[in-house]
């Protein structure tokens, strides 16, 4: 039974991947990509990696899908002809690349089957060290305690990615502001339910991250969803200038992480040795806010946000 489910998911992934790239239209490809992401999340869950499943569903399918759709919407406005085209042009390189990739999968499969698997040194060390730390989730342990330079630099990468995207936002004033649909009574009621609920889920994911699957990246993506809703509903309007609030949100995670990591050196501890669980929670909260702010700004395609309405 289990094998059948796994094979179904595996075959589904292949078909979805093929459909995504060979799709008859760009829009169809985007939708199929989101479905692919959700199926991939299922696959991760089946492989016993719930953290990855959560991240894939929230970031891989959710946020990425939203970003692609918003890019598509702008493309429709700029180049309607391209979106209406029945088929995407296939590159001449497609077939050689596919053959190479297939060969690569084969070689890796062969190599992996051939290798005798010793228990991973680093993995053993993590499970050993984790008992002293007070954390229950080894992934949070690796991300925040043992290999936290990776995480810190990832947050810097996210900032760099946003800043790189910001260079092409341009001073595009021609964009019409999203209409505030305050006249529709249901939107307000819907937002009043969904936004607090999303914040609650994000907080839960963040706090649960110390013992169970979850953490700053998943929580940030979920929190970003509420921001995306507010942008879509016109409650938050894109602004061209980088104002203080969003700038603070963008840099909070990186600043706090760096400052705490440096401050411990004054007490004779090694660089980035976090002084306790409180520091882990503090930094994760800051990272969650920064990640959410980055994603919302990317979705809005703007350097800043301002409130509209009452």
């Amino acid at each position: 039974m289990n094998l059948a489910v796994d094979m179904l998911i595996g075959a589904g992934l292949l078909v979805l991947a093929w459909q995504t790239i060979s799709g008859r239209s760009l829009f169809r490809g985007i939708v199929l990509f989101v479905v692919f992401g959700l199926t991939m999340a299922l696959a991760w869950a089946r492989m016993g990696a719930p953290d990855l499943a959560l991240a894939e569903a929230a970031i891989g399918a959710g946020v990425t899908g939203a970003l692609m759709l918003v890019a598509f919407r702008r493309l429709v406005r700029i180049r309607p002809d391209q979106c209406a085209q029945p088929a995407l042009r296939r590159s001449r390189l497609a077939v050689p690349v596919a053959v190479l990739a297939g060969g690569l999968v084969g070689v890796i499969g062969l190599a992996v089957v051939a290798v005798e698997r010793d228990p991973a040194l680093a993995g053993l060390a993590v499970t050993e060290a984790l008992t002293d730390s007070g954390l229950g989730n080894p992934i949070t342990g690796v991300l925040l305690l043992y290999r936290n330079l990776d995480t810190l630099l990832e947050v810097a990468v996210l900032l760099a990615a946003f800043l790189a995207a910001r260079t092409v936002f341009g001073e595009d004033e021609s964009r019409p502001p999203t209409p505030a649909r305050r006249e529709v009574p249901l939107v307000g009621a819907l937002l009043a339910i969904i936004v607090p609920l999303t914040i609650l889920i994000a907080t839960h994911l963040l706090l649960a991250g110390s013992r169970e699957p979850g953490g700053a990246f998943q929580a940030g993506a979920v929190l970003a969803a509420s921001g995306v809703l507010l942008v879509l509903a016109g409650r938050l309007q894109p602004a061209t200038a980088l104002s203080a609030g969003p700038a603070f949100g963008l840099t909070l995670g990186l600043m706090l992480f760096s400052l705490v990591g440096l401050a411990v050196m004054a007490f004779g501890d090694p660089l980035l040795a976090l002084p306790g669980l409180w520091a882990v929670y503090l930094i994760e909260t800051a990272m969650m806010l920064s990640i959410a702010m980055t994603l919302v700004l990317l979705f809005a395609g703007a350097s800043g946000l301002r409130r509209s309405g009452p």
């Binding site: 690569l104 070689v107 190599a111 290798v115 680093a122 790189a164 092409v168 760096s258």
Partner: protein, 482 residues
């Protein structure tokens, strides 16, 4: 204390980037000064330390490998750190003339610039394969953002192409890292040497990582993205991209090859990498000869000059090692000078078409002088830094009786002279009718001066060879036979 100095190299730029986004516009220039000026003073005591002890290691967060990440500073990383810090300061001076820190463009430009510096410093210190991946991402994305600050359609297209290829390269590298971890159970660059056995899995992993890194460092024939990206970015950005960004991934290849896989006997793959380098020298030089725009000549020259850095794999002895390290630094300074000067010329003429450069030696004497000085080093004429690098390469090839490589190195120098003299000849050619002599904006003196300083440094490097060669000798992994 040493830990704090290393931390400052990475975290000063990181915090600076954050502060630039938060602080009022009028403070930005001061913030930039505060986070850049201390960098060379951090390197000075580190240089003394490395000259004495040869090596410094620290476990981040107090967790030793394989659990945690190590930082490891040796003579090679120190040398490239010096190169990067010098470039950050001198090219930064040129950039400050174009992207005023207090302006809107400045706010787009400088945070990415600082993040790029932080990424390069973290990359040079890291001794962990996955951490190297993250730093490479930081370097790549910051670099792409900086290309896009050029704003023109060509710059945006080049940035996009670079982004797609660099992401594919990252995935290849990451796949290799995953396979390495599956076999060895550790990610530490230096522990891997013992844990990794030559075999199908580790060979696949190494090939994947190499392929990704070769794309990122634009080694022929994977260089397709480089000329457009480096030719269309703003001048100071091109300078940094060509002088250091493409080389840090070659640095990782060196680390993997000579440290991680140092005990493996790999003459055939080494020869292949060397042939790629040879191809790069010939192909890049040939295309540099036929370009119509100054910056494209310089960009194709980067493709060619990167080829020399691959010659270390087949030659593979101490002399070749010193030659490659020396060439890396000398080319970095000379190429940065060339791009800064080319950027100044582009800004003042409004075009960098070679046909329009005629008579420029009288109108922009300082920039043309910079162009000439940097060319002297790139061609490898004595007494420049470029000469020392190429001379050592020739010696290394001669010692091994590798006549083919000797011919290639000599030919590469001749070709470099050909494409650079072509530019200089056009610049100093005085037509009778001064058709284009209208419309000329003086480039900012600061930018011209920065270019000149870089070119002088590239020449001066030829006189300071002893300490640098000493550092490189100390960094030589030595264990492997040619």
């Amino acid at each position: 204390m040493t830990e704090a100095l290393l931390a400052a190299l990475v975290f000063l730029p990181v915090l600076g980037a954050c502060l630039l986004l938060l602080a009022p516009a009028s403070w930005r220039a001061a913030i930039l000064l505060v986070v850049t000026v201390p960098l060379p003073f951090c390197l000075l005591p580190l240089t003394v330390l490395i000259a004495d002890a040869g090596l410094f290691e620290m476990a981040l967060a107090g967790h030793p490998a394989p659990l945690g990440i190590r930082w490891r500073l040796d003579a090679l990383s120190l040398l490239i750190l010096w190169l990067n810090v010098s470039l950050m300061i001198l090219v930064g001076l040129a950039a400050s003339a174009r992207f005023a820190p207090a302006s809107v463009e400045g706010l787009r430009f400088w945070p990415l610039w600082l993040l790029l510096a932080a990424g390069i410093h973290a990359l040079l210190l890291s001794a962990d394969l996955f951490n190297l991946y993250v730093t490479l991402e930081l370097v790549t994305l910051a670099g792409i953002g900086l290309i896009a600050t050029g704003g023109s359609g060509a710059a945006l297209r080049a940035a996009m192409r670079y982004l797609l290829l660099a992401l594919m390269a990252s995935l290849l590298y990451l796949l290799g890292v995953g396979l390495v971890y599956a076999e060895a159970g550790t990610l530490d660059l230096y522990q891997l040497g013992e844990a990794l056995e030559p075999g199908l899995l580790s060979a696949t992993a190494l090939v994947l990582m190499l392929a990704g890194l070769l794309v990122k460092s634009a080694v022929f024939p994977l260089h397709a993205w480089l000329p457009a990206a480096h030719g269309n970015a703003p001048g100071p950005v091109s300078a940094l991209l060509s002088a250091i960004v493409v080389k840090v991934s070659i640095y990782i290849i060196w680390r993997l090859w000579f440290w991680t896989a140092g005990d493996w006997q790999l003459p055939a793959p080494g020869l292949l990498l060397g042939l790629l380098g040879g191809g790069a020298i010939l192909y890049g030089s040939a295309l540099a000869l036929v370009q119509k725009r100054l910056k494209m000549v310089v960009a194709y020259s980067t493709v060619a000059q990167l080829g020399y850095l691959m010659l270390i794999f087949p030659l593979s002895n101490l002399l070749a090692w010193q030659a490659a390290g020396y060439h890396l630094v000398a080319h970095g300074l000379a190429k940065a000078a060339l791009f800064v000067a080319a950027g100044n010329i582009l800004v003042s003429l409004g075009s960098d078409r070679l046909r329009r450069l005629a008579g420029l030696d009288q109108r922009l004497p300082m920039d043309v002088f910079t162009l000439a000085l940097a060319s002297v080093s790139l061609m490898g004429l004595p007494p420049s830094g470029g000469f020392v690098g190429k001379w050592l390469f020739l010696q290394a090839a001669y010692e091994q009786g590798a006549w083919g490589w000797m011919a290639l190195i000599a030919l590469g120098g001749l070709l470099a002279a050909a494409y650079l003299f072509r530019v200089l000849a056009l610049t100093c050619f005085h037509p009778r009718s001064h058709g284009h002599s209208t419309r000329l904006r003086e480039p900012p003196t600061l930018a011209s001066l920065a270019g000149l300083l870089l070119a002088l440094a590239a020449i001066g490097l030829g006189f300071a060879s002893a300490p640098i060669l000493g550092l490189l000798e100390a960094a030589w992994p030595g264990a492997m036979a040619p």
